[in-house]
Amino acid sequence: MNCLAFVPTKQGQATKAGLEAISYAARQGANVTALVTGPLTGDGGTGSAGASKVLHVAEHLQDEGQIARVVAAAAASTGAVLVVAPHDHVGRAVAPRVAVRLKAGMVPGVTGPAEGGTFRRNVFSGKAMAHVQVHTEVQVVTTTPNAFGVDAHGEAAAVETFVADAGPARLKLTGFESSSEDGSVPLPEAVRVVSAGRGLKGPEHWGIVEDLAKALGATTACSRPVSDMGWRPHHEHVGQTGITIRPDLYIAAGISGAIQHLAGVNQSKVIVAINTDPEAPFFKAADYGIVGDAFEVLPKLTAAVQNLG
């Protein structure tokens, strides 16, 4: 089975979500060709993740409409019956366009390998799973970030230049407003997240949240009331109407655990809840819990993490 993987890059290297898309397809026995646009150093790490070849488009395309044209052309030229892309901000704009171009059935945000012709994905904001059957020969899927991990085989992939008509750029990038001045991993990609809510009583108390995040190498997040009150920026709001995350470890302090919040975090692998109220609903969704005051618990937890060395 030939597979084409659209792999986003950052500073010449494939993103982790992009490498996961490759490994996802390779583990199913597919012969994976990676498609990369823009700056690329070596094979960008794609060979080690399971790609046998890289098709490289030199132009740094930023309009996903153009990327989709190139991906569809590469899928056709490699005879791919499976096209994968990460379910991140780029892949979500590229893959549906590719599906339309290839007249292919599409499954967004898969969380499991193809089994008996169906793909597993989460629905109802993580409260259920669906097994989706694709009715077309060519299939397009996006892979949920941090659901699969990246393989490391250590063999570099051969890089070939790929030329295809991308059409005109109709979406122009005119600026970038960075939200991670401190260099922390952006929330949707974070493996560890420390989050806090109204229990922190004010934005001036966020130092203890940031200290724990720093000790863990984690990214900070917050609940909706906290972002609505302007204590923290919108992009930190995780939950139903903010962003959905899927880290390995989610630590929530001073958040009651309303169902709207849980909808954005319930796919985390391990959840720790810290709350003064032993009846807080978060304890029903958590794996580990501490009943206590975040102002006392967080600094102690930070010290305990630092002591790990």
Binding site: T15, D63, G65, A68, H89, R92, A93, A95, P96, R97, A99, V100, G105, M106, P108, G109, T118, R121, V123, F124, S125, K127, A128, M129, A130, H131, V132, Q133, H135, T136, L171, K172, L173, G175, F176, E177, S179, P186, E189, H234, H235, H237, Q240, T241, I243, L249, K269, V272, F283, K284, A286, D287, Y288, G289, I290, V297, K300, L301, A304, V305
Partner: protein, 246 residues
């Protein structure tokens, strides 16, 4: 300026999620349906704000059967001028996108907005498909949107920040948190919504690309392991040795 806003119905967040007919259908018994929050809070409200600023009209489009009418009336009560319902029960996003694209094309809209995803299917697919079917630019996951002359200017979610982007109209935009604030319909809006036009269209058939074969509920979560507030080092040990996440 003509705005088209895609509106989906979705089960209220607090709904009990259950399935019927051998786990092939969502069990709607006792479920309260709402306007999908991303469609309502961000896409619809921003379209209304832009109409108030620039003049024009806001039309909503929904793919679904008659049980969608209450949420369509809600969107009209919030302020949309008129509504289209494509009378069908779709099985996949490509069908939804094809029918919306057909309406968008015949209506000649300048800006087509949708929420970034629905809270039931969580697909995040329809907006980009509509853009491709209409051969239009697509601004995904937009957190702000302005229209200056014939140009849409937006910020959109990207890795580590927001990209500032622009595209010539017509354009398709998917709306994320930050674009607008929720509006509560007032009594006048609710009364007016009853008589606003709701056009029902019978679509041409479209082949399905995919369909849900079966739903499944996740395994029940084990009990939460409680640790004393005085022993955070015990939590750290469990996270490392038992959960293996440190």
């Amino acid at each position: 300026m003509k705005f088209l806003v895609c509106i989906s119905k979705a089960p209220d967040t607090t709904s009990r999620i259950a399935f019927s007919e051998g786990n092939t259908q969502f069990d709607v018994q006792g479920v309260q349906f709402i306007v999908n929050p991303y469609d309502e809070w961000y896409a619809l409200v921003r379209a209304l704000e832009l109409k108030e600023q620039l003049g024009g009209s806001v039309t909503t489009v929904t793919v679904g059967e008659a049980d969608c009418d209450p949420v369509i009336r809600k969107a009209l009560a919030i302020g949309a001028d008129d509504a289209i319902r494509v009378d069908a029960n779709p099985t996949d996003a490509l069908q939804v996108a094809t029918w919306i694209a057909a309406q968008a094309k015949s209506g000649g809209y300048d800006v087509i907005l949708c929420g970034k995803e629905t809270i039931d299917h969580n697909g995040s697919v329809v907006g980009a498909m509509v853009a491709e079917l209409l051969d239009l630019p697509f601004i995904s996951l937009a957190t702000s949107l302005d229209v200056e002359g014939q140009t849409a200017k937006a910020r959109r979610e990207a890795s580590g920040g927001l990209e500032v982007v622009e595209a010539a109209l017509p354009v398709v935009v998917s709306a994320a948190k930050g674009m607008a604030e929720q509006r509560i319909p007032n009594m006048r809006g609710i009364m007016a919504a009853r008589t606003k036009p709701l056009q029902v269209i019978t679509p041409e058939s479209v082949a399905q690309g995919s369909a849900v074969a079966q739903f499944e509920l996740p395994p029940a979560k084990g009990a939460c392991k409680m640790i004393s507030a005085d022993q955070p080092e015990e939590l750290v040990r469990l996270l490392r040795e038992e959960a293996k996440v440190l």
